[in-house]
Symmetry: D2
Subunit: 352 residues, 4 copies
């Protein structure tokens, strides 16, 4: 089988270099082009020295990059770039995976409120699929455009899905109106931008919350929670910045419905994810560490019910740059092209 | 005025060296003795090189230390040591401040359950005062024995006190039965012990929860919450280990009572702590950073109500070794000896 | 005695906030003005939350700041700012301490080569004193303008001074033509600038050399080494970036002259620094840690001669923001105003 | 071809888990047994959660492990274990790769001095090969026993080899009697041991030298430098502990011989390593970062000659757990079994 010709738009950020790391080791992909207007002509390995001897490609300006000759284009760009180029690429038969937010929210008003721009192609948005594989696997197989989920939403949605999905008509398991997600992210989650607050000297040996009054991932999580719940959902979401490079830990709190007190929640999670190659439900009593998934596409989940009371506590860890971004994007690509879902994603996490 | 003669039992851990740092700069204290059976004769500055030229004292074995000649003895020891020596010291007129748990819990059964030992002196326990100054200032002034609070309890109690205290008979502000404290601690919180899980190579660039099914600080928080609330309290407490040396961040969630929807919670906190020298209620919208209190005795608190809904989010930061341990102990000493409460505790936090 | 009225120009960087931390705790100084064109009107405590409740001052634009009414002005600015304002301030009787490089190099050609600008006031430069107290104490007492040393030069000059100074005519102790300084700096040494290479995500869990082919501190070190040596000096200087916030460790290599093989180098260092309040020569065999001086003005030095051979290895640690910058600046101020040299600089280092 | 049956003795440390990570992804290896007396019966994935779903093996006690049925046994043990079992394994036709020091030093007196034990099998030692592939490739192909190099020696030997080897009779390039290696190691270099000085709270945000008066890697480096130089060598070696998990940076200083002033050292290094799959000589002016080789088997080297003077500065980076330990061990295995040298070692380094 011929290799998939891959283009990457905007590869100078962390999701870009992570795509390069994963795709350069992928058995069925061929890196055809990577664009950066600013770095036109610069070998990517000059910017990311880990790629020396592994990736020969140079950045090229978008006009030279011949993206329409690719099979798939990944957008590792700021919000708004993918939607501007989507129609041209689709017309040329190119599939699209956007790692930014252009195809994450079906609610246009919400998109415009949070991203401060009108949507450039509502039609394409309507046909696009939200690329959280464990929730939308079949739709993704047939998709031409995938909106790759945000890092926080991936953990919160997978941590809550077994509790909320498919309960229409049935008695609820938890109170969907008082959900809480207390999330902690490594600093790469803030991207590769020259900003003061993410300097080593500012973020090191320090911990803080941010975005408490509102964060773009909040409407994304709520929209997809409501889809799988089939009704309204109330979520308090508090993200925190943690002094580590990679890694995300979400601590999720849900009140157990009085009628669901006899449910075996551990078993519920185990069964829900039994066949998932990238979701590991850990044994009772576990406390997953972020480093246990470092540089890998795995998610690990532990389910707790302190004192056997009415408060459920779900712990979820992922590498925000892999399952939370570029790894999940490759997982989507694999599905869209009929490849084994784990092709190129088999790396063992790097610990210590 | 003569300086207070201070003895420290068990000064080889982090709370010990922090007591030495603070007391060696205290205008009214004189370090008289510091004990360590194992390090008898070793100058403390040989173990803690930051003290070179600042503290001349050497460790001495407990039998040589003449603690009964001190005015006050701090116990920076494992649980169980202070209660074994309390009666002898009290008989000699020496006041006691225990940084371990011997005098934190009035509920003897709870103490025995969590600390796996019978209490050696229930009488002394009964007269002892829980040394959270902002809640018990007047009692501490007259106390002979103070149980210095745990680090997590200090943040959670101060973060919840304005919401729960003095509401007997009044309409509640929040639902006291569904409180959540999601707490993050720097690694010094685990002490100075040769254990694998707190090695640099294990704890660095890593984040995890622990003690989800039960932690010794849980009964401590609940007992004192109930005291100030005047009724039962339900608390879910999830501590996490964060890759930083010092610092603690507690994110506290409380459901606002429907009848309290019009309360100005920011103002409530500001008024409650208006006269407190070590509690800083930050402006609306703030997200306090742990480094803003590094090496200082300050607590900073911010109050959030996302989307003006029914979920209150209180953010609390402290230095776990200062306000969470040794600084608070000095604050207690100041009160017990009629000194200005902030004597020796005026340091500006070290940032960056 | 009236307090010294202090102005700070350009207080938004790390040396600025460190000056504020130290001066706000100084018994003889009064913060009169701090300038920042960009942040005019903003309370400094809004930018540096560690100062909340400790410093009431707001930034003011330079034109409003009335610096000529101060007794002393510190420049915590980019290179070139102090020399532009020096003559006006001196004319008004204001003393100047520049934390940038305008008054560090007497060699004008070298200044212009390394700082890419002509010197604005060579006359002032000529009367200025290089503010390395341990080498120039008496001159500093009488100075109107002090050039505060760079962080690397402070460690290397103090690490080499006992070996080179006052040897004119005498037999040399070491080969002054093959000196090596292998220096490691925490990331605050790079300042508070929005630049990619000092992002947490770039600098954390990473180590690298930089400036191997040339660094501005190289001519500064060499000029002052030659002054104290009284002859030419050859130095290889390799700085490295270390993943820590504060701290500098210089490992200095000098070949012992065959005629000096019987010298007791430990004793030489101990005698040279016996009366220095901020230089601690550690016992034989010590390996000083950077944290042993964190947030303090101390320098610690250890002298090694591996295998009793001909290679001397001198280890020097300092806090780059204190003795390497703002603490040394305050030490200079103390001398210039006849205060005790250690006024306001007595803090015990923060460990852990 | 049948897969190579691999046994690992003592797999609970960092070199053990790293062997498991690499070998579980190796196309030609099969993990047959891993021993730990203490953890007999425990699945390795319970200790190292990154291996969950990747490695099914459980630790077994040495007596049950049937190591004599393996093709090769790796010793990831303390010094002294491999030599005690070597003869039995060799007799059974099993090849041995020791990651400890039993087969690194041919000089028995030196071994006994530094490791405080007599050598158990001098005969085996004599036939063993020092497993630094780039120096001993052909000998390793035929070896039954390989002593895998220490982490520091790997960087220093590869950084100096082009300058010293094969100069017998020729004019020297550098002064071999005044070499200096100033080396910085991440904390995993100290192993996974419950010791105070490598706690997170001790080693974080801190930098120090250690072992200045003597370190076990010093005789190892000198012995092999002398072998390739064909004469005596003088080396000053100063290791430092750096607050990062993985990574090693060696800064090597060599005085250029007056007769070698015209040599193109950049070219010398490039030619020496032109065909080496795991040694990357970087372009002129580069400063390699440790993260550029994180979790990979690459070494990167840069050659500097500041001011075009007589001091050569060679910068070498590696991942101390991969090329500095387990990766190099797998590279040795590949040669010993006629596999492609890079089998299982193709991973792109993880950056950021």
């Amino acid at each position: 089988m011929a290799k998939i010709k891959v283009g990457i738009v905007g590869g100078t950020g962390y999701t870009g270099v992570e795509l390069l790391r994963l795709l350069s080791q992928h058995p069925n992909a061929e890196l055809a082009a990577i664009t950066s207007r600013k770095e036109d002509g610069m070998p990517v390995a000059d910017m990311y020295t880990n790629l020396r001897g592994k990736v020969d490609l140079a950045f090229s300006s978008p006009d030279k990059a011949r993206l329409t000759e690719c099979d798939v284009v990944f957008f590792a760009t700021p919000h708004g770039v993918a939607m501007a180029q989507a129609q041209e690429l689709l017309a040329a038969g190119v599939k699209i995976i956007d790692l930014a937010a252009d195809f994450r929210l079906q609610d246009l008003a919400s998109f415009e409120k949070w991203y401060k721009m009108p949507h450039a192609c509502p039609d394409v948005l309507r046909e696009s699929v939200y690329g959280l594989v464990e929730l939308n696997r079949e739709k993704i197989r047939g998709a031409r455009v995938v909106g790759n989920p945000g890092c926080y939403p991936t953990t919160v949605l997978l941590g809550l899905a077994p509790l909320l999905e498919g309960r229409a008509g049935a008695s609820p398991l938890v109170d969907a109106s008082t959900l809480i997600a207390d999330c902690k992210s490594g600093v790469t989650g803030a991207g590769r931008k020259a900003e003061l607050h993410i300097l080593f000297s500012e973020a090191s040996d320090n911990f803080k919350a941010y975005g408490v009054s509102g964060h773009r991932h909040h409407p994304e999580i709520v929209e997809h929670l409501q889809t799988l719940h089939g009704g309204p959902v109330g979520l308090t979401f508090v993200p925190h910045l943690t002094p580590m490079v990679r890694g995300m830990h979400s601590t999720i709190y849900a009140r157990i419905d009085p009628k669901a007190r006899d449910v075996d929640f551990q078993k519920l999670f185990e069964q829900r994810y039994a066949d998932e190659p990238f979701v590991d439900v850990m044994p009772v009593g576990s406390t997953p560490e972020t480093r246990s998934v470092r540089a890998s596409n795995m998610i690990r989940i532990a389910v707790h019910r302190p004192g056997n009371g009415d408060q459920l506590v779900v712990l979820v860890v992922q590498d925000n740059l892999v399952k939370g971004a570029s790894g999940q994007a490759v997982q989507n690509m694999n599905l869209m092209f009929g490849l084994p879902e784990d092709a190129g994603l088999g790396q063992v996490a790097v610990l210590p």
